[in-house]
Symmetry: C2
Subunit: 890 residues, 2 copies
């Protein structure tokens, strides 16, 4: 707890963000490359940490170091604290390693007191200006440092204006301000029992103390919790000589981006005000002018600023967001930082900078946050629109939609066929609602998580969905839902934002998706870099085609069960499930076979020449059956109202079967390959459908590459048993059709035991595909549907987990199992193909982990394919390092 | 596929069971120690395996080796195949490495033909005897080797008896037999198109062929599947000179055990028949005499036999089951093997043999199959009783009970209070049924697995339970259940066997449990050997006391939730769960606290000086609430019948809360420490109750050792958070009571992630306890309740898994995680206390694994403590080897 706590700007650099904060490090950097930065020094984050550790006490040596740097500053400027003619005035600003805008405290104009304000009057000849500065300082200091509520100062100001019969602050005279200042001082004394300190060095230490404390104020703590910023970082403090943009008409202040932050266009973008301070821009009393006008107002300043912008853009090799102030004809740069930008701008800037030779391809792909791309790939709500958000659910399927509220799937189908736009609103959806979902623009449910039926089906169809919106109280009987006191009736218009989980009243303006040429260019760069393959999860020929369009090199997961849920098939599927014996079941399966064959034909055709992983039936059978509770209620009603006996009996029969199939924990029940082993005829039918489709395509001269995938394996014996079944069906089909074709058989790795025994399992597998959704559920013992609506939020808030493990792959637990799997599996088969098809396959941090773990490919939903391509390139750069990166052009 | 396929008895020994089969190896051993064994040779299991591998063909060299050994046999006996005066007659018997009684084929009297039968007549002077031998051989050979149905031979025999006007076989004359034999031969020719072979060597090869094939006959395959015997073992074949116990009145045959197989008493036990063959004993035409009578009938033979028995008992150092035959005054030993015995006998024999200096303590403990002890520890059905078993469910809680069928918990309570014996029969039980269970002798449910509510509660209370008896169709409305056509009404008497899962009509005779002095002695031996600690799982002071009685050195698991389910507490618990907010919940918790405190006081007192691991609340809260479906039906009924509006509303309110708490996969939902993190006030209450009880006991001069256990941990952060909570409560209690006490805080390891991150978790844990029930569920992705009733049976039948992983610890998967945990945990804390409290803690093979993995203790239900003590001793011997074992006496 000692050492160097204070750095002059000359002593630091851009690389010292953790020690000096982001703002401070950049001030140092600019100072060192010779830009006009008002001089100053920085108190380090280490000092802040030690301060906190010591229980809000300055660590040893800090005070002395500060005093020393103040003296250097005084010497350099020829000013000094409290001097009656040349007083030193400084700003004291927080500056953490990670930007936390507005969360911590700032004090400006420090150094003013009853004596030094006189110097300011005489040097500017503007009493009103000087007094205004002084009173601003007192109220800011009183508020931030001494804890007097800001509005109490405002009330004094209001009284003063009433007294002077004026409306605006700037109409007050110097004398008025003088009176107000006296009242301010009295207020402070009254509230705190202490006088406003006249000694500037005392002002300074008190301010530093306050800024350090503000690291742990409530709003900063909450902000960090929400944004997952470590409490351990601490803040630095920047102490810098004041410059005034409001001193005269050859003064001013402004902000500019070196490139357009909306479009990425390479042109200065920003605004400024003459004779004003930063605060004035914020207050909105005067309208700032576009930066281009500065060329006319202050041509020399403009030219200098333009050059500095160009220099900083090149120096940081990124678009900069720059604050400047002109004091009496002299330009000062107060801040530079990487500018925030839209996804569209980010892409254009990155691609442009490669063309300009500023950055390498590898650096370019690193400049885009892949999650940003998502917005560009879906219809989205105009970010400028004012929204009446009435509730928030889970962002279950991205994109946005508007339409009338409909509570019933049949009605939805009817209205949809009439061309109406609608949002289907249900507590939860079931396979019975599929036809309604098909005709809806979007889905809204009050229950269920990110993997609920509604969410999965909507994502599959590429429709927006908000699920688990628990604030919604749906009353089917009255065809309405309530949110608090608000009642929304069937037919009312709402909008949903499936990317954010918002439910919005009424129509909202939308922006259609579009892939710009720069976007395509960026993905081309990414493809040149990445080694990780990218496939899509797709269940239909349409999705397969869409995936190809997005650049997917194959399908990593085709879920055959979604085909089972189609409206025309569900009755046959139910027939199959409710079958009394093998013969009945096979009869139903025979009806399903041609339908499945068509599905596979279409998908394999759309993916001609690319591999298609087809997962055999996975979910528990009761997912295809009606709900036991509803049946029970029906039966009770029928009995009490003397209903038809046959009908009662029929329902009772179904109920019995539903009950027999119902499970305590369906996630861990009769599903996956357990179905295939219990009812081999189901998997045999699916295998036959796959191979018949394959044979037909081969005959037609195409190149189908089916990969048959066995889900939920925990033991090599399961795989061996089912592989034999699949192989024997393949042999039959080859014999029957006279066509030879190639296929492989592999397995999902989605249960810990399969991972632990991957060496054994690999002996029977041509490929592994990580099903990280289920692997996360079993490794963490988290039912996703239950966790996300319930305790997971608490876990994230309490920082027990840093991320939602269903969104960002849990590297420590699930990842450890994955690494074991890869290692063990390749020990048995060095060339084992290994991919991932859980939702993590489309999430950048998880993709990075997949690269590290040595996977061959990731697979994700079609819309995320571009994101995955970019993330895969980033992963390569991050994991493999940038040793062999040369700067290049496109 | 070649080498030595045939061994003379002189060439083998007892250690060659795998190669020569159990029977053959012992024949060799007896031959070599000079006992009178009819000479012969053995064809190895390797020959059988090669025979199968080659597609039912003799491997090269086998035929020659057999011919060679036949010649040796002929030379030694002075007899030869087909010789008209001194023909060689042999038996051909299967003999696998593992006993498969009656499953494979045997041929006797081989070598007889139309010519050699004459030699038998003249050598015995008994035509009837010789012809009987010949016809038996033809029919046996015809059946076993040539595939002619046995009853067709029987029919010829019947005709012959009709013709001769006699009833019994032994009334037929030599001439009658001669005629029958001719008919037999014709039958064979008619059925097979082939003649009965007259060439003895041809007979021999055909028989060998048949016996090899019988390894794969249907009944042998099924037997192996049921008994989990590998198909790979193959069978050996014993070819041995015939001896005849039915040749004369100085001939005979018998079977004897060297000690009493029921009681273990050291006294010859068995029976014999004069002038008879083994078959006659089985046929039951004549009643055998007790072996002691042989001393009078054949004093010299008896003396010789007694000496041989004593020799074999000593030689094998185990009780032997010996077959002998006397042929014309000469004793022959045909078989010896370790005798089957009751648990009681097994214990006495083992303890006696230590006293006799025959075996070491270590060998003695290895002689008892620990599972056998279970029977001795519970009331059980008299094994002699004839039972009318009407259905079979899961053996959910051991022991047996009889009583009247009662379907309703309230009625059960009423009848129980009147002193009636009853069996509570429910589809499933819920906490609402606890008062009924309390008054029932046993529980029978038609649904639910080994961890269903009924099973868990019954095991906890030590009551027998049969669960998941799906054949039962319960009709509450008519107070009856059906099994097929059988109707059982309320009040009818049934019995259940919770050790076997049987449901039996009517009362059955029972045997009360009792610990014999030998049992105590055996456990003392075990305790001297074992290093693994044994604790009990106990939730009440009574169970704690019982556990001490069984020798448990502490409690490894106290489930606090069972205390929550007690009838007087459930309403308060429900109040707590349905509470609108923190204050209401705390009010309910305050009511529960004194009750919990009393629980802990009682348990810690009963375990004075021994550690008690107390697990904080674990199960999902909705387990304590009524069923949603029943509520829904009630509401529908009330609505339709114009019920009270307030009542409807109240039920709707409860339903809403039940729904809000209901989960898709409760196993993976809001339970365990997730409850403690979501509602810290619950865990705080429990911790306070534990520590107040502890403080009180310390004041009373006792030594309570509470170990506070946090369940379902997946991350060290959970444990750190809750440990802080527990520590702060402890500090408060210490301050409030002025008493200092000691306690530890640890965690269950029951989710894969906790195992994978055990090094991190150990940093905050004083102990680990493996919850292998849940760890098995998550590692395998098996919901126990769903798997056991559904696919697990198929998995075991198809040999996809070798054992039910909930009964026998899955070493490959779960075990691998356990080993990682121990290794990682002890890397952080070398002296970390590690135990197991899942049900595997009482299962011998799992206990062996725990010893291997380096655990400190196992914990199991009180009744299994003796089993665990024995199994722990066995584990030590097996795992650590027997290097330092010296023979000793007690």
């Amino acid at each position: 707890m000692s050492g160097k706590y204070v750095y002059l700007f000359e002593e630091g650099g851009a690389g010292m963000k953790n020690l000096l904060g982001g703002k401070g490090a950049n001030l140092c950097e600019m100072t060192n490359i010779g830009l006009p930065v008002p001089p100053g020094f920085i108190i380090t984050t280490e000092a802040c940490k030690d301060f906190t550790r010591l229980g809000q006490k300055f660590p040893e040596g800090l005070e002395g170091q500060i005093r020393e740097k103040v003296m250097i500053l005084e010497k350099r400027l020829g000013e000094s604290f409290g001097d009656k003619t040349k007083p030193l005035l400084v700003s004291v600003r927080s500056g953490a390693p990670v930007s936390m805008p507005g969360m911590m405290d700032t004090v400006l104009n420090l150094g003013l007191n009853d004596a030094t304000v006189g110097a300011l009057i005489s040097s500017t000849g503007n009493e009103r200006f000087a007094m205004d500065c002084y009173r601003r300082f007192i109220s800011m200091f009183g508020d931030v440092v001494m804890g007097v509520e800001h509005n109490k100062f405002e009330r004094i100001l209001d009284r003063q204006k009433n007294k002077a019969h004026v409306h605006n602050d700037n109409e007050l005279s110097g004398e008025d301000w003088r009176e107000a200042i006296e009242e301010y001082k009295k207020l402070i004394n009254r509230e705190t029992g202490k006088d406003f300190p006249q000694n500037p060095i005392e002002q300074l230490f008190m301010s530093i103390f306050a800024v350090f404390n503000s690291w742990n104020n409530d709003r900063a703590v909450v902000y960090r919790r929400i944004n997952r910023i470590s409490d351990e970082l601490g803040t630095a403090i920047n102490i810098q000589a004041m410059v005034f943009g409001n001193m005269s008409d050859d003064s001013g202040t402004g902000v500019a981006f070196t490139r357009n932050p909306s479009t990425g266009e390479k042109k200065l973008y920003g605004e400024y005000l003459i004779n004003a301070q930063g605060e004035d821009v914020v207050a909105g009393i005067r309208t700032p002018k576009p930066i281009a006008h500065l060329e006319r107002d202050m041509p020399l300043i403009y030219k200098q600023f333009e050059e500095i912008c160009s220099l900083l853009d090149k120096h940081y090799r990124d678009m900069q967001d720059i604050e400047f102030t002109v004091e009496r004809g002299k330009l000062w740069i107060l801040q530079t930082r990487n500018g925030k930008r839209t996804a569209q701008a980010a892409i254009k800037i990155a691609v442009d900078m490669v063309c300009e030779g500023l950055i390498s391809r590898e650096e370019a792909v690193l400049k885009i946050e892949p999650g940003q791309l998502e917005h560009l790939l879906h219809r989205r709500i105009d970010p400028e629109a004012k929204l009446d958000i009435v509730a928030k659910g889970l962002p279950a399927s991205p994109g946005a939609a508007s339409g009338m509220v409909v509570f019933d799937a049949d009605l939805a189908e009817k209205l949809g066929q009439e061309g109406k736009k609608l949002i289907l609103v249900r507590t939860e959806t079931t396979p019975d609602d599929i036809h309604g979902i098909l005709h809806a623009q979007g889905i809204l449910t009050s229950r269920g998580g990110m993997t609920s039926h509604a969410a999965v089906v909507a994502r599959g169809m590429g429709k927006p969905c908000v699920s688990g919106c628990e604030a919604l109280h749906i009353d089917y009987e009255h065809s309405e839902f309530k949110v608090g006191d608000l009642v929304v009736k069937q037919g009312d218009i709402i909008s949903i934002d499936g990317s954010l989980g918002n439910v919005i009243l009424g129509n909202v303006p939308m922006i259609d998706p579009g892939l710009s040429p720069e976007f395509q260019e960026l993905l081309k760069l990414a493809d040149q870099i990445r080694t990780l393959g990218v496939r899509a999860n797709a269940d239909t020929p349409e999705d397969a085609a869409k995936s190809r369009g997005f650049g997917a090199a194959g399908i990593g997961l085709t879920r055959t069960e979604h085909m089972f849920m189609a409206q025309d098939r569900l009755p046959v599927v139910q027939e199959m499930i409710l079958a009394g014996g093998l013969r009945e079941r096979e009869a139903a399966l025979n009806k399903l076979m041609p339908m499945q064959q068509e599905d596979f034909y279409g998908i394999l055709k759309a993916m001609d020449g690319f591999p298609v992983t087809i997962r055999l039936l996975d979910p528990p059978l009761h997912e295809f059956l009606p709900d036991a509770e509803e049946l029970m209620v029906d039966i009770t009603r029928l009995r009490l109202t003397g209903g038809n006996k046959d009908e009662i009996k029929e329902k009772e029969d179904i109920l019995r079967k539903v009950r027999a199939l119902s499970e305590h924990n369906p996630m861990l029940g009769l599903r996956g390959c357990r179905l295939g082993i219990t009812y081999p005829e189901i998997y045999a039918m699916q295998a036959r459908a796959i191979f018949l489709a394959t044979a037909r395509l081969v005959k037609e001269g195409l190149q189908p590459i089916p990969e048959v995938e066995i889900p939920l394996v925990i033991d090599v014996n399961e795989l061996a048993y089912l592989r034999e079944l699949v192989d024997s069906v393949a042999a039959e089909v080859k014999k029957d059709t006279g066509v030879d074709f190639h296929y492989t058989v592999g397995t999902m790795i989605e249960i810990p035991r399969a991972a632990l025994l991957a060496d054994e399992v690999a002996a029977e597998a041509d490929f592994f595909s990580f099903g990280t959704n289920d692997l996360t559920q079993t490794t963490l013992g988290f039912s996703r549907d239950d966790a996300e609506g319930k305790f997971l939020r608490t876990y994230l808030e309490q920082k027990i987990l840093t991320d939602n493990p269903f969104m960002v792959l849990d590297r420590k637990g699930v990842g450890k199992l994955m690494q074991m799997t890869v290692e063990l599996g390749r020990k048995t088969k060095p060339d084992l193909l290994i991919g991932i098809c859980g939702e993590h396959g489309g999430e950048p941090s998880s993709i990075e982990f997949c690269q590290m773990a040595g996977l061959d490919y990731v697979s994700c939903s079609p819309f995320r394919v571009p994101i995955a391509r970019l993330a895969a390139a980033q992963a390569w750069v991050k994991v493999k390092g940038t040793a062999d990166i040369g700067y290049g052009t496109l």
